[in-house]
């Protein structure tokens, strides 16, 4: 729970990590990728307030004590959702595997949810692993990371035929929340690899599953919004939006938030700090106070208004619904208030 100005907020951090990117964990021969990757993440930390920056050494491998202090104590996060990301071609024991995350979660009962992962390129063995992971970690969700390298392949898409048995397996196992992240993707090499069209195809064919698009599809916010407005089961994960823009580019942040509130709607937007890229506290604190810089200015005047209920939903209540998290009575909203996103069919750029 985060308390500010006498108001209490139930916080679900929908996107956090406990990673090990220290040089000891770099795969021999892939050091350039392992090092480049974490240095790139570290640059993103630089988009937050200077007093929250860490030296690269700490950033590569922070401690459990750091996590507990930053996320639970200072950040007031009630429940964190671990988005397991493997990257085993670069990090010997994985970047942050479900196993590593689960070990941490076990020490903090009720505070951390572990999401698993699958990769269609692993075929039958992958399906079997998913079954085992689902049982072991009580999976309700998975992180799908399409930019992962695997045996010479540099990525995959959610529309690949090989994904179909995995969607069916998710339904069978009760895994209903699929967090999708294209990452700094490079594949398909000659197309716009960030195009979320594959998510659209998967979401249309699998209406029982929820697709949470992390980082709102950045750098393709427009394609993401045009899709999310048409698909009831597509959600916006706000990690990177708040962390990367709210402090560094406040005016763009306001415009992006306005667009998301218009197209996606406040009932389908989920806060995620992306810890350890950014600490949650400044993000939550700033977002509670946030409004359009000049709400009546023509740039912002026709975006949906934001109020306390908007923020409660985004900071925790929406994710609590998706994950069946029990929210204390006094932190719930009195009723289903708010402005849903646009319902009209959007005109896609290439088809318009």
């Amino acid at each position: 729970m985060y308390e500010k100005n006498g108001e209490k907020y139930f916080i679900v951090d929908g996107h956090c990590h406990f990673w090990d990117a220290s040089p000891e964990n770099w795969v021999k021969g892939a050091e350039v990728y392992a090092k480049g990757w974490i240095e790139c993440f570290h640059a993103y930390m630089g988009l937050g307030p200077p007093e929250t920056h860490w030296p690269i050494e700490k950033f590569m491998k922070y401690s459990e004590e750091d996590f507990v202090k930053d996320v639970f104590e200072d950040g007031g996060v009630d429940v964190g959702i671990f988005q397991s990301t493997y990257l085993k071609e670069w990090y010997a024991d994985g970047f942050n595997t479900a196993e590593r995350n689960a070990a941490m979660a076990a020490k903090h009962p009720g505070k951390l949810i572990v999401n698993g992962r699958w990769d269609p390129r692993e075929g039958e063995a992958g399906l079997k692993q998913l079954e085992e992971d689902a049982k072991r970690y009580n999976l309700q969700g998975v992180k799908l990371y399409t930019a992962e390298w695997y045996k010479g392949s540099r990525g995959w898409t959610l529309a690949d035929e090989e994904c179909k048995p995995f969607y069916e397996k998710c339904k069978e196992l009760g895994i209903k929340n699929l967090h999708v992240h294209k990452g700094p993707t490079i594949w398909p090499l000659d197309k716009d690899a960030f195009d979320p069209k594959d998510v659209d195809i998967a979401a249309t064919s699998n209406t029982e599953l929820n697709f949470i698009i992390e980082h709102v599809g950045l750098p393709r916010i427009e394609d993401f919004c045009f899709m999310a407005t048409q698909e009831a089961n597509v959600y916006a994960g706000l990690s990177v939006v708040i962390g990367g823009l709210m402090f560094a580019r406040p005016r763009f942040f306001a415009k992006v938030m306005g667009e998301l509130l218009f197209w996606v709607g406040e009932d389908k937007m989920l806060f995620g700090s992306d810890y350890g890229i950014w600490e949650p506290k400044w993000q939550i604190d700033g977002f509670i106070d946030w409004d359009y810089p000049d709400p009546d200015h023509e740039e912002f005047s026709d975006f949906p208004r934001v109020n306390a209920a908007t923020k409660r939903k985004i900071l925790g209540l929406n994710a609590a619904k998706l994950y069946g998290i029990d929210v204390p009575q006094e932190l719930r909203l009195p009723d289903e208030s708010g402005t849903p996103g646009a319902k009209e069919d959007a005109q896609l750029v290439e088809s318009a």
Binding site: G36, A43, G46, P184, L189, I221, E222, E259, Q347
Partner: protein
Amino acid sequence: MSESTRERVLEALDRVIDPELDEPITTLRFVSSCEVTSDGDVEVLLRLPTPQCAPNFAFLMAADARNAVRGLPGVRGVTVRLQDHYTGDQINAALGRGEGFTGAFPGETADDDLEALRELFQRKALIARQSTLCEALLAGGASVEQVTASRIADLPEQPETQRCLQLRKELGIASDPDSPAFVLPNGDPLLADQLQRWRRTARLVRTSLEANGGICRSLLQVRHERSLDTEEVAR
């Protein structure tokens, strides 16, 4: 002599556009170094915001830079190199051999010139640029009908207009003074009853390009200058 050649080279690089952001690579500060020897050999180094920036766009910018500089008066040899990039070695080698995108990634792609990718982003850029012009007209008191009835000749003489015309030419959309000022991505004129919806989608496309440009600028600053200038660049 090499100083004036260098000026010409930099001017030519001003016309090389990041296809994804629709901004010159010079104002984005992607050109980290430009050296011209007294013999007219040019070396241009490009530094993108992250080592993981998409290889296809990286290739287009590097290849466009090379093409823009080649053939300039006073220029003999041209080397364009991507620094600090995942696929920099592959792209640099292909450029050095004068090859296209398939030369950089043999066996991984059959698309040598990436024209479809470029065109997709030209269409997005055109929407975004038109959005800026349209909003300015409406803010200046023009009615919906006046906006959709306006011709290219009615548009203000400004860089935004010039960029729209250039994009229309590249996309094969009519750009003579009597053509409609505002068109849909397929080139059809924008009609009055489509305007409100179009404004919504166009504004979103513009915001997306601007936000991406903002993140790229911030990352470049953080990675190479270690201080964040929060001033925003208006388009």
